[in-house]
Subunit: 194 residues, 2 copies
């Protein structure tokens, strides 16, 4: 069976590795070793490290959509949907298939000074995250769930910041109160904008 | 003169490189090329990549103290000191000697899954940042500048989050409104805790 793994199985393992080591830490060599495949066999699937990274980013983005975004859209417009996005993102950060957390968010800090196709894909995905969240916040304002003069950009900026602080405090500093801080910070953000 | 640079000049250049490439992207080889030194000459100074990384982290922490922390301490206890820490950190993020931004903050996302001495140094520095900020916030509460039932940990968690979102939005997404968002977010944080 050696070498006979499907593309899907390979990318699944690549996502796990990139979650822990970062996108730059993922190589065809270390992925082949982890899978028990030959390096040349794996090379035949992707041709380059960059193609492997691209496949990982694309597949992670697809999972985000089905894991966080689509379930949240099933909630009513307004605050229920905003809260569902918050809860979905929080579950995503501890998803079984992302043992080191979301590789798209952590790669933001890895790739900010590395121009290229991967950088541009990551930027595009994160801009879309902002846009989707801002749309949900605008709807919450239009539904009367949040105050009429709310600036949706500042709201989402603070929301993203709370998540980054959560990732930083839980993964790097290993403080167990990180999820409590995140919930308290988000509740305060919603309360003062009602 | 080749190879005859002082340790101080070498570390200065190493900090610049780590700021752009990340601590893991900094190697004795690429630093030697940038300085026009021989790799063996540079190796004689540090003996290993890890020693070079340690020197960079230590020296960056020293600069943080004299650039941000000590000037802020000259301000009166309470909100003036909290605001001085905010402004100092913001200046720090665009300091001439950190062309790619603060390497300690961005390394947090690089090293969270890489155990070792560098990881532990970074964690220690960032825990101290939290502690120093929390102390300044507690003083502002004691001086009556912030509300008496304020939780200083949640306050500083949100403050750090705003900075992480600022770094993300300005460096990665290249949105020019990032500094405006940061100031607005911080002003709202202070206002609702007065």
């Amino acid at each position: 069976m050696k070498g006979n793994r499907t593309r899907e199985q390979i990318i699944d393992q690549a996502i796990r590795m990139a979650s822990v080591l970062g996108l730059e830490g993922l190589t065809i060599g270390n992925l082949a070793r982890t899978l028990g495949m030959s390096k040349s066999g794996l090379f035949a699937h992707f041709n380059s490290k960059e193609n492997l990274q691209k496949a990982v980013v694309e597949q992670t983005a697809q999972r985000w959509i089905s894991f966080v975004f689509e379930p949240a859209m099933k909630n009513g417009r307004g605050l229920p949907r905003v809260r569902a996005l918050f809860e979905g993102w929080l579950e995503w950060e501890s998803a079984e298939f992302l043992p080191g957390g979301c590789l798209i968010m952590s790669s933001a800090f890895e790739f900010d000074d590395r121009p290229g196709e991967i950088h541009d894909m990551l930027v595009d995905l994160q801009r879309r995250l902002y846009q989707n969240f801002e749309r949900a916040v605008v709807q919450a304002r239009d539904e009367g769930h949040l105050r009429g003069n709310l600036n949706e950009k500042t709201f989402v900026f603070t929301w993203v910041g709370l998540f980054l602080a959560f990732i930083h405090r839980s993964r790097m500093l290993e403080y167990e109160d990180a999820v409590h801080m995140l919930r308290e910070g988000f509740d305060q953000l919603v309360e003062r904008n009602r």
